[in-house]
């Protein structure tokens, strides 16, 4: 591998002059520059980042840790995609910053995060981002040196800067929109409460009901989320069957996520109930493979992954450049409701009332 000395020799100049041509940090004569560029081309010279970095003490690297890439071998969940979109947002936002993004993967095993962080520190990354698969609490090893770190789609109890989806607002906006559409009996097949999004969305649901003057009815809320295990379909079936037999049955089922909504479609069809004419369905996640492919297309709430990635990168860059006006606490990012044909308008919507809703 050619070095800057080789180039200098061929071009008949000093190494420092070659360095100047490469970095453009001082004027170089036209003839000299051309000679250097010719030599570089002849030798296929590629400068060594390691050497450059030693002297300049700046790596230009951002380390990103995710489990997206190698999820557990049984990905019943729509595994990985969320993280991908977050990473996409981060990339987009970092593209013009001159930083190089290094991505490492935990293989879904949280314990692998520590050695990966260590590897990154050895490479002297200027900042770290940890991206989680779904909104959750994490406990990462402390970064003893001052390297800034951001959590995306997760949080810890050390107050590390975090970027989170606004689950409360998302569910709230969806339910508010359903109420606007004339629905009063709104069934809710929730996520299990252990995951962070569960309680937040339930609170959003309740808040929207209250704002709409509707009483919260426990008969309309049930957790059917078995973490992808078998029996979930049966649990869903029973819950739906029970709710539909109520004297005042729900006109719409909100599902914990789009995957559950996919199951609910199947169950309702098997029961002979037509979607949406007899009963409406709404999801959460805007998981497009499902939401857009289903017939009828699914009304759901977008999880603003890309936007979260952008925010994460921005906040990190702010920390790196040492801006003191650092926000405290987590950054909440809300996503719009995607209004599609799986929900009937029981009465015409008053469009002026709608916020952050995209009609498709």
């Amino acid at each position: 591998m050619a070095t800057i000395y080789d180039v200098a020799r061929i071009a008949g100049v000093s190494p420092k002059t070659v360095s100047r041509v490469l970095n453009g940090d001082a004027p170089v004569g036209k003839a000299t520059r051309e000679a250097v560029e010719l030599a570089i081309a002849q030798l296929d010279y590629v400068p060594s980042n390691a050497a450059r970095m030693m002297r300049s003490q700046r790596s230009g690297l951002i380390g990103l840790i995710t489990g997206a890439i190698s999820m557990s071998p049984e990905p019943t969940q729509p595994a990985g995609l969320p993280e991908l979109f977050i990473v996409q947002g981060i990339q987009k936002s970092l593209a013009n910053s001159g930083m190089t993004l290094m991505i490492a993967d935990t293989g879904g095993v949280v314990e692998k995060a520590a050695p990966l962080i260590d590897t990154f520190l050895r490479h002297r990354v200027e900042g770290l981002i940890y991206v989680a698969e779904y909104h959750q609490k994490v406990a990462l090893p402390v970064i003893s040196d001052g390297t800034p770190m951001i959590l995306a789609n997760c949080f810890d109890d050390r107050g590390t800067p975090a970027i989170l989806p606004d689950d409360w607002r998302g569910q709230h906006d969806l339910v508010a929109r359903l109420i606007t559409a004339g629905h009063r009996r709104i069934g809710y097949l929730t996520l299990r409460p252990e995951i962070a999004a569960g309680p937040l969305r339930l609170d959003g649901y309740r808040a929207a009901l209250q704002a709409g003057g509707i009483t919260y009815d426990t008969a309309l809320v049930e957790n059917c989320d078995l973490e992808g295990r078998d029996g979930e379909t049966q649990l869903l079936w029973e819950a739906i069957d029970r709710m539909l037999r109520l004297s005042s049955p729900p006109t719409v089922f909100c599902c914990g996520n789009d995957k559950m909504a996919l199951r609910v479609y199947g169950i309702l069809r098997s029961m002979g109930r037509k979607v949406p004419t007899e009963v409406s369905v709404a999801g959460y996640d805007n998981y497009r493979v499902i939401a857009e492919t289903l017939y009828p297309p699914l009304t759901t709430v977008d999880l603003p992954y890309t936007a979260m990635g952008v925010r994460a990168a921005q906040r990190l860059m702010a920390m790196i450049s040492g801006e003191t006006r650092e926000e405290k606490g987590p950054t909440l990012v809300a996503g719009p409701v995607y209004w599609r044909d799986s929900v009937t308008e029981l009465r015409p919507a008053n469009v002026s009332l709608l916020k952050s809703v995209r009609e498709e």
Copy 2:
């Protein structure tokens, strides 16, 4: 940031001894070792990879380029997941090699591959892997220095070592299994021929028919793949409708991929045809979100992404260690047929005849 000199000073030894403790490449006295380890802990010392690398001329880095992470904003395709599984296989295979995997992303823009390769070369990666989203031909810039490179899920016309799915065999095995199940009229809703897998799978289909003594009938084969554009459902509808009206209609529809199969389920249901009792459906990809969630679960062919990743990493490591017994040409990796309930057994299968088929 503390250096090895700081550690040496605190521990009262020479930097070289600290180095020995870190690398364990020469015996160190117990007391000395402990003093050094204490100093390292006190200072939160993390060795600099850049410095180490300069001296040793080995980076321990493998560069991976993918478009998985940031696909186009309109991922109608099951975007990204294939690449993820490939990367997962690569990671698994590289985990114990002492190499660190650096992942970079093209954002789906092929032109970005060149600067990314350059960045990797600056970091002196010891090997490069390019992973494509689906089986396709690519044209990457030539790597002028000798850094080894592997193509995964793609190939070029320069003969760069490539790892590819065995599409011919996959479709062949599926159709052979259908024939074993007693199907004689096998409809095939193909992928568009422009993509690499299309013709290969069609050949596999024809070969299996021939081996089963069944005449190839063009009335049973139609391309309904519009690259995710609108109208695909209508095209599918028409093709299916036409085939079902034939005097000798198909008893099973093979679909170009699982996504298409999902649509076909919907169409057949709308037509009032029950799957699988009245007509069977098979897919391709084993795209689990679809194949396992659909009711009935979908018979399909696995695309062995993880295995491809493993093979890619192995072949790369072989190249790096300079083994001369390098295979020529692409490595083909076949995936098993996943036999699920979407296909009826018209006659009981003779299990002893089945190869690489998983019954679920």
